[in-house]
């Protein structure tokens, strides 16, 4: 990515982030910026590295290269004491609502835990008051604080997870597919809750999903990931109206629409083999693949101001 476009007051600045599992790179040279109050959508198919990116940014797993600058301080390089202090501002909501809650803790204790860690001056009644207020804010009754996670539905557990993440009013909230394990009717409620909380606290948000409708509803800008790389990055409307990368186009075409009664045939089948080491990793599925695509991997370039794509034929495809 071209550094010249990066505005200096980015809250989170990720550069060349690379994660390897057993020598195989699952995240390759990912770079992006996130600004205060902004919602960044991250879409991509299963296994494209979305959750890995979320965990690597928060150093819940080890990146092998790259940097994650939070307000100018590199999270990947700082010592664990500093990192723990910084976690106050960096919170995450997980995909599986029940698994992310300690089964031995009442939900009240779970929500109170960040307060116990970071607001040591708070006494017991004040803490209980904050927890009760937060429970009501996420749409649960304050009297539920004494219950255990298994007594709740998935949607309610996710509200608890959101309450835990938001109780310290963090500056950054990462949502790792927070609604994909929930019923469609509950998804809307949770998404609206997240949007309201974000608006109240001016929280920056990295929202990961494979549900394009949800991402479109929430995001200011959208990142598209394929096979561990960012292939397109654009403001929301530009991405939905004028997608550049063939993968983004296939992704948008796959969304069922009332105005397109004929289901779109999949552009190409998913290749049986792993992506080859050289060249563009999407070329085996790409209907526009040319000779150059097999030779070198296309860099993420600014095709139109503010609109980045990693495709050799981006400019041809624009026309």
């Amino acid at each position: 990515m071209n550094d010249a476009v990066a505005v200096t007051d980015a809250l989170l600045r990720v550069r060349d982030l690379r994660v390897e599992f057993g020598g195989r790179a699952v995240l390759r040279e990912v770079s992006f910026d996130l600004f205060a109050g902004e919602t960044l959508g991250l879409v991509g198919e299963s296994g494209s590295g979305k959750s890995t990116l979320a965990r690597a940014v928060l150093r819940l797993l080890r990146a092998s290269r790259g940097s994650v600058a939070w307000r100018g301080r590199d999270l990947l390089a700082c010592d664990s004491r500093t990192l723990r202090a910084l976690r106050r501002d960096l919170q995450i909501v997980f995909q599986d609502p029940l698994a992310s809650l300690d089964p031995r803790m009442t939900i009240g204790e779970t929500i109170a835990e960040p307060l116990r860690i970071f607001e040591l001056a708070l006494d017991e009644p004040a803490r209980a008051g904050r927890v009760a207020g937060m429970l009501e804010r996420v749409g649960l009754a304050a009297a539920m604080a004494g219950r255990y996670p298994h007594e709740f539905s998935g949607g309610q557990c996710q509200r608890v997870g959101i309450a835990r993440a938001m109780i310290l009013s963090p500056a950054l909230l990462i949502c790792d597919e927070p609604v994909s394990s929930l019923d469609a009717s509950i998804q809307g409620q949770i998404v609206n809750l997240l949007r309201d909380l974000q608006a109240d606290n001016n929280t920056a948000m990295l929202f990961i999903s494979h549900n394009l409708a949800v991402v479109r509803h929430l995001s200011h800008r959208i990142l598209v990931m394929y096979s561990g790389r960012l292939v397109e990055m654009a403001p929301r409307d530009a991405l939905f109206d004028r997608p550049i990368h063939p993968y983004t186009r296939a992704l948008l075409a796959a969304v069922p629409s009332p105005w397109a009664p004929q289901p779109q045939p999949a552009a190409t089948a998913v290749p049986a083999s792993l992506p080859s080491a050289t060249g563009c990793s999407y070329r085996e599925r790409c209907r526009y693949a040319a000779a150059i695509c097999a030779a070198t991997e296309p860099p993420l370039e600014e095709v139109v101001p503010g609109h980045f794509a990693a495709c050799h034929r981006a400019r041809e495809l624009m026309t």
Binding site: A85, R87, L101, D102, P103, R104, E113, I117
Partner: protein, 281 residues
């Protein structure tokens, strides 16, 4: 945690078998403590007029006497007290040390885990008997040494079990969520790991009490543990087994006490596990 314990107590109260076992255990503890006041006979006083006499409620010796004329009721109560004390103290020592050590090794992982487990392997390679003999030679013989040496061996297995349980939960998402919330290692181990591994561990602990009671009687038999005129259930049973044909009550009385004690401990342990398992109701 306090809410967790309150819930567990409520569930335990609604389990009749576990409640029954708990009252048996408590009853035995009370009986062993009150024994000297209930019974005019001392545990080491000899009654030459009633040597190896049968149990009879109308005589002074309710459970009969052994072949030196000592009252079997008094001796059994003393034996139960000693066995229970050894079992409980040594189990508590192994529980506390084992949980702390095992949870730390399992959660921290990597090289620390490797080093900590090698230490356990080296320690468990030392033969218990030599260990006890060395201690006896250096410090002389006393009961505290017995507690110490049995506890020192018991925690090794406990630590292995806790480590295994910890490994099975350390990659669960709620641990990751706690890390992301900013919790430190000590906090995660104490508030998330230990409460989640405690169920199987408590059951194992109630099973170690009988094991330790057996081990104690074995050491006493070798002359390294409880010695005459004091008694433990193990020594009484060993003694009674020798007189089995002539005076079966010498085996049956302490044997019955041991059987009831072990059964109660096992049933209580089971009930405790069910009560602590909030998910499997």
């Amino acid at each position: 945690m306090s809410a967790l314990l309150g819930d567990a107590a409520r569930r335990l109260r609604s389990n009749p078998a576990a409640l029954c076992a708990m009252f048996f255990i408590l009853g035995m503890v009370v009986l062993t403590l009150l024994g000297p006041w209930l019974n005019p006979n001392g545990s080491d006083s000899l009654d030459w007029l009633h040597v190896a006499s049968r149990p009879a409620l109308q005589s002074a010796h309710w459970f009969g006497t052994d072949r030196l004329g000592r009252d079997l009721f008094a001796r059994t109560l003393e034996g139960t007290r000693v066995s229970l004390a050894v079992g409980l103290v040594a189990s508590a020592v192994s529980l506390i040390v084992g949980i702390g050590y095992g949870a730390a090794a399992g959660y921290i992982g990597g090289r620390t885990d490797h080093a900590m487990m090698r230490i356990i392997e080296i320690l468990s390679g030392l033969p218990l008997i030599f260990f006890v003999i060395f201690l006896t030679v250096i410090f002389g013989r006393n009961e505290y040494l017995l507690f110490l040496s049995i506890g020192a061996v018991g925690w090794l297995t406990m630590a292995r079990i806790v480590r295994g349980q910890t490994l099975s939960i350390r990659h669960r998402e709620f641990i990751e969520a706690a890390v992301a919330s900013g919790a430190g290692t000590a906090r995660i181990i104490c508030r998330h790991v230990i409460p989640n591994v405690i169920g199987p561990v408590v059951v194992y602990a109630t099973l170690t009490v009988p094991q330790i009671i057996m081990l104690e009687s074995f050491l006493s038999f070798l002359g390294l543990g409880i010695q005459e005129p004091h008694a433990s259930l193990g020594t009484l049973i060993a003694e009674g087994a020798g007189e089995m044909e002539a005076a079966p009550w010498m085996l049956l009385v302490p044997g019955g006490f041991l059987a009831v004690l072990l059964l109660s401990l096992n049933v209580f342990g089971d009930g405790l596990r069910d009560a602590l398992d909030a998910e499997e109701r």
